[in-house]
Symmetry: C2
Subunit: 332 residues, 2 copies
């Protein structure tokens, strides 16, 4: 399993827009303790408000990995970044990248990493040796976020639940299944990038036996209703053996992301279908709550909608950003 050494130096390139550094922002928001500083090139117009460090300063202070958490047109690695990456490798750092293009596809980077014995982490790709799933019951407790669609707040909800559980003194581990989550927590498996035979087996590996009072909070992906990505979602559902599901939804979205000719499924069918299928590997699974992304709504409308939804389904319904997730944790 991918395991990226921390602390990180977050590379901002010469980004002009906060959206370009969305992945790095997520790391800084959720794991400030892992972020030693940021490093920008000339012309950069954004900041994470972290200490601005040169490569050598960061290396001297113990930074272990330079993180390329940037969006670039086509997911390719800009030539302008290569010198910085080489400098970081020579200074003693590993490199982690969320780009489509693999770091070792660039000969200078590959050779330099080999020469100095550094690791290259491409979090959109996986070379973990995986096994097919067994479906065997594991010890410990598990919560999985599922959704009506992609990009409805599954990662955010999962991280918020982990944080709130830890704040209560509970034992909890966020288990990352996507690139941003892996960069945030430093480990995980990019579940949509592995060979399809191993989806459930990878989740079993990601969330192994644990203490009876420990919760794995597993980041969901896609949706059982997404015409492109439902296979990943079902493999995750079966591999997770979740004790508790949290259904995530964007109430004002109309069409499926990337397949807008498909309407979003309603909450009722999403809940029932996820529970039906989850019971195959976790017969006692229950719905622990509903998480709404209401970012496009007025605050009081959002609160009213959450309250009405909670009443309809008889479980807490929250927007984690507005209301936190304590109400969900109370049900566990």
């Amino acid at each position: 399993m991918m395991s990226i050494p921390t602390p990180y130096l977050l590379f901002l390139g010469s980004s002009k827009d906060q959206l370009d550094i969305k992945t790095s922002s997520g790391v800084a928001q959720w794991r400030p303790e892992n972020c030693m500083g940021e490093h920008a090139l000339e012309g950069c117009e954004v900041t994470l408000n972290l200490p601005q460090l040169s490569i050598s300063q960061a290396a001297n202070q113990g930074a272990k990995t330079l993180v390329i958490g940037l969006a670039n047109s086509g997911g390719t690695l800009s030539d302008a970044w290569i010198n910085t990456i080489i400098e970081a490798l020579e200074a003693g750092m590993h490199i982690a990248s969320g780009l489509h293009q693999k770091l070792n596809s660039i000969p200078r980077i590959k050779e330099c990493a080999e020469k100095h014995g550094r690791k290259l982490f491409d979090v959109r790709h996986s070379d973990t040796v995986l096994k097919t799933g067994t479906g065997k019951k594991r010890t410990g407790k598990r919560l999985l976020t599922v959704g009506t669609d992609c990009s409805v707040g599954k990662m955010y909800t999962t991280l918020a639940i982990e944080k709130a559980m830890l704040a209560r003194g509970m034992k909890a581990s966020f288990r990352a299944t996507g690139q941003t989550g892996i960069l945030i927590t430093g480990e995980g498996i990019p579940i949509d990038a592995i060979v399809s035979d191993f989806i459930a087996g990878a989740v079993e590996m990601l969330s192994p036996d644990n203490d009876d009072d420990h919760w794995d909070i597993i980041e969901g992906q896609g949706s059982l209703y997404h015409p492109a990505f439902s296979g990943v979602s079902l493999g995750l559902l079966h591999g997770a053996q979740a004790d508790a599901l949290v259904v995530c939804h964007a109430p004002e979205r109309t069409g499926m992301r990337g397949a807008s000719h498909y309407a979003l499924p309603n909450l009722e069918e999403t809940i029932q279908t996820n529970l039906l299928l989850a019971r195959r590997t976790s017969p006692q699974v229950k719905l622990a709550g509903i998480s709404f992304n209401t970012s496009s709504m007025d605050h009081s409308d959002a609160l009213k909608l959450c309250a009405a939804t909670a009443e309809t389904y008889n479980v807490p319904c929250v927007d984690p950003l507005r209301m936190g997730v304590d109400a969900i944790i109370d049900t566990l």
Copy 2:
């Protein structure tokens, strides 16, 4: 998409047992017109009853591909086979292999293929450039086999339906999603070997727009109820946009293959769950029939069970090997 030139020369190695040449037997059974002959090494004790040809004889008669359709311990390529493969490459043939070990992992084979401009087809692996699914409606008709478990006769049923349709003068194409099916038909996508993000997209590519009266008969994989492989099955179900499903089942099996602590689902739930989920991309999908593998049963018991099952579900129920599949085609 993988597309293997025919006719084939089927390589038997020095196999001692019919089970060792199961894949080649499938090719010879379902595509006799593609099989020019067989080639064995010293000590081979089995035959497909095809003309026994040397490599040079086969090449002279126009054989295009040497097929390594053999089971070997661990799926590795035996050293004893390498000389034969090299000889075939030099004589003008491509190589297709159903082994886990890739042909180009052996330097002599890789170099010889490059030198002579031959292709190496590893049907358990895929290097097809894929896209994620769109869920867009395609023209033409589609039938998909689904199952209560792995290895319950999905490939056999699919090939039998294609054959019977062609015999009636219907337009039909078997669409292979597994290694044996790909070797049989010479093309396809090994759906369990591709990156999970692309499962549905690969099926869309495998079964593109077609004539309104053309049937794609798509080979199913796994089962929605298999704790390891359900993700592949759901991606297939959504990508296929099937007009008709045929549910395959082995009535006397008790535990799931490779996960025997899980009981087989019953037929009723398998049918209902597959139809429920299939409707997401194919709202008018219907159950066209049930296919039983009754190989472990007495003939009259098998016929009785099929008749009773047909009555219960109000669709034809056949063992294709005993009864053919015409009753299913009649419903389409």
